[in-house]
């Protein structure tokens, strides 16, 4: 009820390259603002306490659990959600890899898992097994046993490196 007492405020941030302003309670969860105010429902809620990673999104380039972020903290931030990852109809290499390697089953953890993979590959373009396990340990999946997700990460890493080799430049373009 405290949220009601304090009233709503206007908060502006950039989501998937577009500047957005929302009128909301300052302590509203970024997760709810994305899902309910902006109708970006690819960001999911699995636990509401930062354990499962289904609500992962990038805030200023850092992957966070949006269920733990009061929206006031995102004022002026640059936010990237799963909806902003593909380029038009062309899937991001990580998304394609999750299809090809069977990394998605029920799909509810998939947006968060895909973004966690993007974050992992930005840091480790050629990750070893320990880095993959560590990089995904904050995202829970109950369907796959993670094995095909590990395969998806490796597939994506190869695809991104191959593309960069072909285009003649390296660096963290993932």
């Amino acid at each position: 009820m405290a949220e009601v007492a304090f009233g709503k405020v206007a908060i502006t941030f950039t989501v998937n390259g577009v500047e957005r302003t929302v009128e909301t309670y300052p302590m509203a969860r970024l997760l709810d603002v994305l899902r309910e105010e902006l109708r970006l429902t690819g960001t999911k809620e699995g636990c509401g306490e930062g354990e499962c990673g289904a609500c992962s999104a990038f805030v200023d380039g850092k992957l966070v659990n949006t269920c733990l972020v009061p929206v006031i903290q995102a004022r002026g931030a640059t936010i990237e959600t799963i909806e902003g990852l593909a380029t038009g109809d062309e899937l991001h290499a990580v998304q394609q890899a999750f299809i090809d390697a069977g990394g998605a089953q029920c799909g509810i953890c998939t947006p968060g898992m895909v973004l966690a993979t993007v974050a992992l590959l930005r840091e480790h373009p050629d990750p070893n097994e320990a880095q993959i396990r560590e990089g995904l340990a904050g995202n829970l999946c109950r369907c796959t046993g993670y094995i095909k997700i590990f395969d998806s990460v490796a597939t994506a890493a190869r695809a991104i490196r191959a593309r960069e080799d072909a285009s003649g430049h390296g660096g963290g373009a993932a």
Partner: protein, 755 residues
């Protein structure tokens, strides 16, 4: 095999899932929709004396529903009519629903929920199997037993009286397990007098929900519609509880005059109130000859059903039938009982009773092997079923079976002999505080409903052809991650001999799809998939009979032309197929004998573990899973099922413990109910021996549940191998391992061996 069956075709709805475009129930917003919530009992057992609404809340803004508002029968009937949608007189478990509230603002709703007080006069409570069996407090009938099965084969008492057998006894337990689908339960309903009831939600069995809603509102079938939205995992957890949740959302909407109502559980509520895997206690008494021939098994198998009967009897049935495993044993007696307690009702969870009874058997067989001085693999090898042998229900195995070769494969792949030798040396060195061990399990799992179940279900599937030769599969089988959409499309495309891309699977909607039975029991591929194949073949025959399609091969264009011609002439092309029991599959419910299942999946699993003797934590370091599930429709999806099942079973074995406090799950958060993470799973190495099943689609059997059965006993066998201490209860959490080790260091209580 055809063009698509046998290939790892990409998941049909894969693009929607990786882009976040898939709409799960909480992603759907209807015009004017308000939110619903549930007020639940705080006590485990008692008589309701009053419901008080705190005047601090403006209740006139809320929709309020109690049992008094139910227009029809306030009971959901899985097998017997005992569980109310809303408790009205007696509370039988903690977190039982009593009052429903709805309001446009879900924040106000959450706050208001705290201001409804349910007054209860407490009644005596029962929280575990032994207390229930003692009957000091009666919760159900004359003996607290929801259901009892007696299964017998041969002459058990005569076998135990033989003078050439060793008798080995043991008692084993398993704890509750939470399905922990990552998408919590949710439902949207639009319901009003005169307009009927429609619900959309996260569920496995549309027609179960349909069946539950009709009497709740006193409506005929055609005025109730159930639609499955994209579902974020089920594992059995969304088999029966969605009927209750759908009823709740619909009752609120009905009271509100047709305003759409959405109820989404948060994780804490989902964990506290929805069904879990039944806790179990199994006592084994086994007669075995000195050269390891199993002569008789006497098994007392008990499940904790919780506060209501739900479908415990069926879970018990499967557990009872699987209790003797895939072994040749001429004499067997299994008594299975499901008993009442004041815990929330336990329910369906992948494996459905079989993991519990197989856990006990496969742990016990290691002790039997030791009693006769045989290695565990050798005892099993000497008793595995072969073609022509009979199971404990006296079912003769007619299909080919390759379990001995699978066991050998699993041992070789895992490096069993070499590692056992190396670990013995490693463990003998006191400087090594981490002890290593290997364990195995051989097991089976029946595909499809038990006994006459599939005959009673009489499932139906439709296949409809539209303009341009686009074909839609009409089935109530739900996609819950396991790949229903994909395998049905593969099976249909091959049977129709058209491109995979031309086939789609309709969203399960009782207004559109026939009742193809529930999405449970490893039946979707084998039973319903076969109906997809049959209906597709019948559709081709229809086009040929109508002479729009010539004999022999045809192209996609010719198929499309034939469909278009048919539609122009007759309007609709929709073919249904109905389940037919394979010949020779005969079951007697009275004697509990006969063909329990048309087909079995078979498996041999090997686990390698490390146990840290300082922290007492166990870790699975390698896992080999060899199985026969018949022909693989989609190898990638099949392997994904096995990997996911093994990981879930690893959780049950060493991580996932429900902390019951007066019947309430105290650790109802992901923070303290621990499921395996990416950092916890071992390499899971999956191998298939594919022995085609004559009556499955292209020879396929079921896969979903099998991988849940074997890992827990294999892992606890491996833990015993590592530390030399027998742990007879799953999960083996660090505190359990510590207790067992400390107890073993003191006065010992090992199994009783009679010579």
């Amino acid at each position: 095999m055809g063009k698509y069956v046998g290939q790892s075709m990409p998941r049909k709805e894969g693009t929607d899932k990786v882009t976040g475009r898939s709409l799960y129930v909480d992603d759907i917003v209807l015009d004017g929709m308000i939110h619903g919530t549930t007020v639940r009992s705080a006590v485990p057992h008692g008589r309701i004396t009053g419901i008080r609404f705190d005047p601090a809340i403006p209740w006139d803004e809320f929709v309020i529903v109690t049992a008094a508002d139910v227009p029809g029968e306030n009971v959901v009937t899985m097998l017997i009519a005992d569980q109310p949608f809303l408790a009205h007189d007696v509370i039988r478990h903690p977190d039982e629903p009593v009052v429903l509230l709805a309001h446009p603002d879900k924040h106000l709703l959450a706050a208001a929920r705290e201001h409804v007080h349910i007054d209860v006069d407490p009644l005596p409570t029962v929280f575990d199997i032994e207390s229930s069996l003692q009957c000091n407090t009666l919760l159900f009938g004359a003996d607290n037993v929801f259901k009892r099965f007696d299964m017998t084969k041969g002459d058990v008492d005569a076998a135990f009286a033989r003078d050439d057998v060793v008798i080995v006894e043991g008692s084993y337990e398993t704890g509750a397990q939470e399905q922990m689908y990552i998408e919590p339960m949710g439902m949207i309903a639009v319901a009003a007098p005169g307009q009927g009831v429609t619900v959309w939600g996260s569920l496995q069995c549309p027609y179960y929900v349909h069946k539950a809603l009709k009497p709740l509102f006193g409506l005929p079938a055609e005025q109730v519609r159930v639609v499955q939205t994209v579902t974020g995992g089920g594992f059995g957890g969304k088999e029966e509880y969605p009927s209750i949740l759908a009823g709740h959302a619909a009752l609120l909407s009905w009271k509100a005059g047709g305003v759409p109502v959405k109820i989404i559980y948060d994780r804490a509520e989902d964990l506290a109130c929805t069904t879990k895997r039944h806790p179990s206690r199994t006592r084994h008494r086994t007669a075995v000859t000195r050269d390891g021939e199993l002569v008789a098994m006497d098994i007392d198998f008990v499940l904790d059903g919780g506060a209501y009967a739900t479908l415990s009897a069926v879970v018990l049935s499967r557990g009872t039938i699987h209790a003797c495993g895939p072994y040749r044993c001429p004499n067997a007696r299994v008594v299975g009982r499901a008993v009442a307690t004041n815990l929330p009702p336990h329910g369906a969870f992948r494996g459905f009773g079989a993991p519990q009874s197989i856990f006990a058997l496969e742990r016990h067989l290691d002790h039997v092997a030791r009693a006769v001085g045989l290695p565990p693999e050798e005892l099993r090898r000497r008793n595995l079923l072969n073609r022509g042998d009979t199971t404990a229900t006296s079912q003769t195995i007619e299909e080919a079976i390759d379990l001995g070769a699978m066991l050998d494969d699993a041992l070789n792949i895992a490096g069993w002999a070499e590692k056992k030798a190396a670990f013995a040396v490693h463990n003998a060195d006191p400087a090594n505080t981490t002890k290593k061990g290997m364990g195995l399990a051989t097991f089976f799992h029946g595909s499809g409903f038990t006994g006459s179940g599939e005959v009673y279900l009489a499932s139906v599937v439709g296949v409809e052809a539209g303009p341009g030769g686009h074909v839609t599969v009409l089935a109530a089988s739900t996609e819950i991650g396991q790949g229903t959409n994909t395998i049905f499309s593969q099976i249909a495309a091959d049977a129709l001999r058209i491109p995979y891309e031309l086939v789609e699977v309709a969203q399960p909607d009782t207004a559109r799809v026939p009742d193809s039975g529930p999405t449970v029991a490893s039946r979707t591929c084998m039973v319903v998939g076969r109906l997809v194949q049959d209906a597709s073949e019948a559709l081709v025959s229809t086009l040929r009979d109508a002479t729009f399609l010539k004999a022999g091969d045809y192209t996609a264009e010719q198929f499309a032309g034939a469909v278009d011609a048919y539609l122009e002439r007759f309007g609709t092309l929709r073919i249904y197929s109905k389940y037919k029991q394979p010949p020779g599959v005969v079951w007697d419910d009275k004697t509990y004998r006969g063909a329990a299942y048309a087909a079995f999946g078979w498996a041999a699993y090997v686990a390698e573990v490390e146990v840290d003797t300082l922290t007492y934590s166990a870790k699975v370091t390698d896992f080999v899973a060899v199985q026969d599930i018949g022909t693989l429709i989609n190898p990638q999806l099949a392997a994904g099922q096995v990997e996911g099942g093994v990981a879930q079973a690893i959780g049950w074995a060493i991580y996932e413990g429900v902390d019951w406090r007066e019947g309430h799950m105290a650790n109802n958060q992901m923070t303290n109910y621990i499921i395996p993470t990416a950092a916890d799973v071992p390499p899971i190495r999956v191998y298939f021996h594919s022995v085609p099943f004559s009556y499955g689609p292209s020879g396929a059997k079921g896969v979903g549940e099998l991988p849940m059965d074997g890992p827990a006993p294999a892992i606890l066998n491996a833990i015993e191998d590592a530390i030399g201490v027998s742990i007879r209860r799953a999960p083996a959490l660090p505190e359990d391992i510590m207790e067992a080790v400390l107890a073993a260091a003191g006065p010992t209580t090992s199994e009783v061996n009679h010579g």
